[in-house]
Assembly symmetry: C2
Homo-oligomer: 787 residues x 2
């Protein structure tokens, strides 16, 4: 079997590096992120305060946002260990690159707080393990070389980190016996005086420190590689590495050890790879992590850090694969987003709010703080900025420089999750000063945002799209100020409806009525102008052309307007049925529902950027999981639980080998998309983007908790409204909620016609468990009708 | 012998790809540039209108200026041809990468208008040749495979172009039987609406077209490479390529041919590699170049284009190496700069002016146009902008966004060469309108520029440095508005002096007096405040700290202030002698004179950016050839001809193998720098930057013509004032000048005490040949005293 999961759900193991060459795990803390794949290639970034690299490409790589479908190539950054049989001269490398020797045994094993490999080749076993420090940009590596061959061995062991092209201005590397490792130095290029003050404190050195002195070393990539190439480097083929300096030559860190192993014997090496500012900092790293017990302590601390992201749900279902994902990997991914803010200093506002919607289930106090921070950057008009600045001197970059019109929508959508989960309505009265000096409460600010949404509409009552809204950033639809968005119109209606409920509970019936009138107005405008016969159009351009409609050859139907029209109550039952059938027919795939179909194959100048993406990737006809999750959420809202489960299950990777191969990913995160264009490009459909930055994680977690297992907070307590898959006869969930623990057992019973709930043996009146006492354990039995 | 030159000076040949792995040639036309090295790696750019790539790195590469010391790596763009022995299965690749098989014979042969290889391996000979179209971004390739093995052979031939990571937005590749080749498509990412209008016409496709149908093909890099890796690709090892499509996978163009060769037999293939916009454009390329005689015609046209850059000097000296460089390669490089403007749309003003100073000797009408264009962008204050915009919509980029204070200096320096060479003083009366709508003559504009230089000085009379001046852009010396530049002060003096002479000839004695008074004033200020005992300081910071002085541990002495103090007449004889001795002691190396010494090893915050470069590279203690050329020019001005020749000869690459190896470059261009820090880093000292963009070319050409061979224009005619190296007993030069041809024979004669010149047998009175008649041939005999 290609992919195994450990029984306790703690790890995923891949046993063939060639079957899924991109399969990867990721580790992070607030200072750094590292995605490392089964073959040893790695992408790592750390914050200073903008994301920076400490191992580099072999050329001058562009500074950019995290890319989906990251390309790998021979000299891509990675972490490797060459092994040479000193008798025969044969070599291989662990994990797999750069030599690519066929291993006798291979295991790539991804855990929550470490990533490990076991590679056997030439009768030598190499075990590698990497973890991070809990609170610093430090990689901690262990390499264990053992001898299962039954005969004595003499081996050369060569840990190798290609440090890459650090800087055109200044780069070098030297072995530093005083610091115990290779130190590569560089200077981030600066040209403007003002850049210097920003850059002068940069950690421009990369060090590979060891706990055992090597017999030789090399610090220049070219000198190491020679004519042999990375797959058979001269450095490894000759007796001793050249012990050279890299003088503005591409730096690499290679250490050489010589060991003799009796049968069954092993030797272990520990290394630390990190960016640092200067010698003193490097010496500090050695002292903290490599001398004495620091290495083991750091592992424990990092495991403890990761454990803080365990979340509020533990399940046992007939679907072991779902169990593992929901119990271990999904909350971990949600935690990553919320605690590390995707390793950016200017998260898109909608991402930031939704990531912290996810944090409501992990660390609600962090979510609270994030909501307040976001609102402190609200504009006087009520509009929200395109990104939330998190660091001193941060600025809006990349797509955040393009104005988008949807950010206000996410305020009530996400805050509602916080209120439901925590019951802490005091947040509504928290007072926040904005950049212009005005102080308002959270409640007042969100009311202002809702009024901004109501105002940003045309004479028909439809929401302007401007240069773009969420998830399908089409920037020529409405840049002249006339085009409207079908999705944003129904999304605004949904947001206003949610906020109307909050207003009512907050004792403001007047405002509730105002916003509910807005909902009705939006819904009737959408029904009047955007219903296309079987589904809702995506929008109308500046020139009055509706798109996402039946007579479009490409981009004929979009998922988001349908999902949100269900959530907003826009569609009546007849329209809802038609829409859902159209989505099933045109957008569903074995990997979830596509965001639109058919994918655009070329530029449509009145629609813009989206149409330029490759068909089936990113938003252009991919299974854009974030949007697919909304569809699932809407289906549950419509009571379409079987259909919802089908789409949701498609979005989960696995559990059979053919599926893993096709997606090319281990199910340790949900990616931002799977390739779509299912009909046009079946070879690549389903392929994972490998990018774990996605609002999908928060929504999928919320959906599992609140929709599928139906364990959703309400002002009065915990509502129990499950919508289990028809094929499950029973299931169990542990739900942590407001300090209490609920042990929930679901079972289908013949004869039952409605859901019956017992709490500690007593039948529950209604669906809400009230009067919850923190610290208490509750036993909840849920009887379900047969499927 | 590692490097050979052909007897006629037409080509340089390298016979070992491992001895000088970076050795490269370059080809260009106005639309594109291509630097291709002996092993097959290539850097190519074309204009649309900004420089763009059509073969890409394997990752998202930064957009940047042309980098010195270009890094290569396995997946770097290149042009290759795999060959497989169909009987034994053995493979190699021509030229050398990616397989790196040891060749039985190797020749990398660089000519003026083509680059060729001959590689023999496994008893197969592969000849490759590349040229360009004269007026389009098109590479034209010929591959000839022959069989010198004496037995019949069955071979697989696989031309391979890694097209690389074209775009994160959209990339694909397909074999197109209708177009006859592989077409890779992409979309340049755009996010802002305004980007689209700029990008919509981009040539985002890359096509490899063939003249013979292959038996199979591959278009995905990963599919081609498989587990074998680039050095042993699965695609080549299996029987047939997979004939796959690249669907948002990294594109590559691989074609497979199968040939059977009797002993001595050969087969030839022709290919075209080019960026294009659409199918129609690609079909047009095929029609124009691949069907019929177009291929051969294009070769001829390109050779004719290159031949237009032959220049005005042909020499025969005892130094065959100098002959080849001066007759063939140097004017070609000067022509490249002037005709293609370094493939940029915003050349730095100082570069643009100096490049066109070089064009005065190649195509003076182009130089004239360039000077007028530059002056049309003069600011109302008289200041010159940091870059000259050449294309619609061009903008100042990179270093051109940092204000520099020296641009005005280059106007008289460069215009003077034009006046001397052409005698066309009418340019001074040409009227030019600037961006503000003001119309002035060239003469008036340069006077205004000179007054700007005089005004931009402090109370001591020294020139402000601001954020930087030429060649050693130190941006913290004077950014607060107080720091001054020693070099700029003497450079301004030199410029004013040159311009004073022009004013006088132009009948404006009043202005001549004004500017000459400025010269005196500047010189006395420099002598009063910047003389440091044995040389001139480089400047004084905002805080009043002189630098480039004897008590600086790093950056103790700078070359430029000394050179220009000689040119400007700042230094008296005693000081000049001291300076020259100091330069000899501290700055001279076997590769020319370093720009400063000792190189900075770390940041000195009151000096700035320069100090952050790696010691010995770029300006930081390198042999910055442009600056070294000025030193040579100054030495000739001072009559120090032996010393000048020593430095100049050091700057020329070759002619012995040890020297070639150390520099790593064929002498087909002069690079912008050789590594310096000769004392600190002897291993890398002398290494070529490989970058052929440099003002050195124009200056070196001017120096050879006017200083060394002493064949310099004057208003009255051609002045003959040679300063031949002492070791030359004789030499000969053909000089084209104002339409006439001068056959000049130099010879040392015992007994001669001064230079004696005969023109057509008649002794010349003075040193100036006047009354030159266009179309005439002159025989000039120059008798020189013994050395």
């Amino acid at each position: 079997m290609l992919v195994r999961a450990t029984d306790d759900g703690e790890r995923f193991v891949l046993t063939d590096p060639t079957a899924m060459p991109r399969a990867a795990g990721f580790l992070w803390n607030r200072q750094m992120m590292m995605q490392v794949n089964c073959r040893g290639f790695a992408v790592a970034r750390f914050m200073q305060p903008e994301p920076a690299r400490y191992t580099h490409a072999p050329n001058l790589e562009a500074a950019t946002f995290m890319q989906p479908e990251q390309p790998y190539y021979a000299h891509h950054p990675g972490r490797f260990c060459y092994v040479k049989d000193e008798e025969s001269g044969e070599i291989f490398s662990a994990p797999h690159e750069p030599v690519r020797a066929k291993p006798d045994r291979f295991e790539f094993s991804v855990g929550a707080s470490d990533i490990r490999w076991t590679v056997e080749c030439l009768g030598v076993r190499v075990e590698m393990e990497v973890g991070l420090a809990a609170d610093a940009a430090v990689e901690l590596w262990r390499i264990r070389v053992s001898n299962p061959s039954g005969r004595s061995r003499r081996l050369g062991v060569y840990p190798y980190v290609p440090i890459g092209y650090m800087s055109w201005m200044n780069q070098s590397a030297r072995y530093r016996p005083d610091l115990g490792g290779v130190v590569a130095s560089s200077v981030t290029p600066y040209q403007k005086v003002e850049d210097w003050s920003r850059q002068r404190g940069f950690k421009d050195r990369t060090c590979l420190l060891h706990d055992r002195e090597p017999v030789a070393f090399e610090t220049s990539r070219e000198a190491f590689e020679g004519e042999g190439g990375l797959h058979a480097p001269d450095g490894v083929r000759q007796a001793l590495l050249g012990c050279g300096e890299a003088l503005h030559e591409t730096p690499a860190a290679v250490l050489q050890y010589r060991i003799a192993l009796a049968p069954g014997q092993a030797e272990e090496f520990r290394f630390l790879l990190a960016p640092e500012r200067d010698d003193a900092g490097i010496a500090g790293l050695r002292e903290r992590y490599l001398d004495g017990a620091g290495f083991a302590r750091a592992r424990d601390q990092y495991a403890a850090y990761i454990a803080r992201g365990r979340g509020v749900l533990r399940i046992e279902t007939p679907d072991r694969h779902l169990d593992r994902f929901a119990n271990r990997w999904l909350p971990r991914q949600v935690y990553y987003h919320g605690d590390a803010n995707r390793l950016t200093t200017d998260p898109q506002t909608r991402n930031y709010l939704q990531d912290h919607m996810g944090m409501c289930y992990i660390a609600p106090e962090a979510a609270r703080e994030a909501f307040l921070r976001a609102l402190s950057q609200q504009e006087p008009s009520g509009a929200m900025p395109d990104g939330i600045l998190l660091a001193e001197g941060a600025e809006l970059k990349y797509i955040n420089q393009i104005p988008h019109t949807d950010h206000c929508v996410w305020l009530p959508v996400c805050l509602r999750a916080y209120l439901d989960e925590t019951g802490e309505h005091g947040i509504l009265d928290a007072r926040i000063q904005d950049g212009a000096g005005e102080t308002l409460t959270v409640f007042e600010r969100i009311c202002r945002a809702m009024r901004w949404l109501l105002a940003a509409r045309d004479a028909r009552g439809l929401s302007y799209i401007g240069q773009g809204d969420w998830c399908d950033p089409m920037n020529m639809v409405g840049h002249r100020g006339k085009g409207v968005s079908g999705w944003l119109s129904v999304a605004a209606a949904h947001a206003l409806g949610l906020w109307g409920d909050v207003c009512e509970r907050h004792g403001r019936d007047d405002l509730a009525a105002e916003f509910r009138a807005g909902v009705a107005d939006l819904n009737s405008a959408v029904n009047a102008h955007l219903w296309d016969g079987e589904w809702y159009a995506r929008g109308i351009t500046d020139d009055g052309v509706a798109f996402g409609v039946a007579n479009d050859a490409e981009g004929r139907i979009y998922l988001n307007p349908q999902s949100w029209a269900i959530l907003a109550g826009t569609a009546d039952a007849r329209r809802r049925t038609l829409m859902i059938a159209a989505v099933e027919r045109q957008l569903e795939t074995p990997y979830g529902a596509m965001m639109l179909a058919p994918a655009y194959t070329g530029m449509r100048e009145d629609v813009g950027r989206l149409t330029q993406k490759f068909p089936g990737t990113a938003e252009n006809g991919s299974v854009y999981n974030h949007a697919a999750a909304f569809y699932v959420h809407a289906l549950y809202a419509a009571g379409e639980s079987a259909r919802a489960w089908r789409v949701l299950r498609g979005m989960l990777c696995g559990p059979d080998d053919a599926d893993y191969r096709q997606r090319g990913q281990l199910p340790v995160f949900i990616p931002n998309y799977y390739r779509g264009a299912w009909r046009e490009h079946p070879r690549t459909a389903g392929r994972s983007s490998q990018l774990f930055n996605t609002g999908t994680a928060a929504w999928m977690y919320r959906i599992l908790i609140e929709d599928l297992f139906g364990l959703k907070g309400a002002p009065e307590g915990l509502r129990v409204t499950p919508q289990l898959p028809p094929e499950w006869p029973q299931a169990r969930a542990e739900r942590l909620f407001r300090g209490a623990r609920f042990d929930v057992r679901y079972a289908r019973r013949t004869g039952a016609t409605a859901i019956e709930v017992r709490v500690d043996g007593e039948p529950l009146d209604g669906d809400c468990i009230g009067g919850i006492r923190p610290g208490r354990d509750y036993r909840v039995d849920v009887r379900l009708p047969p499927a």
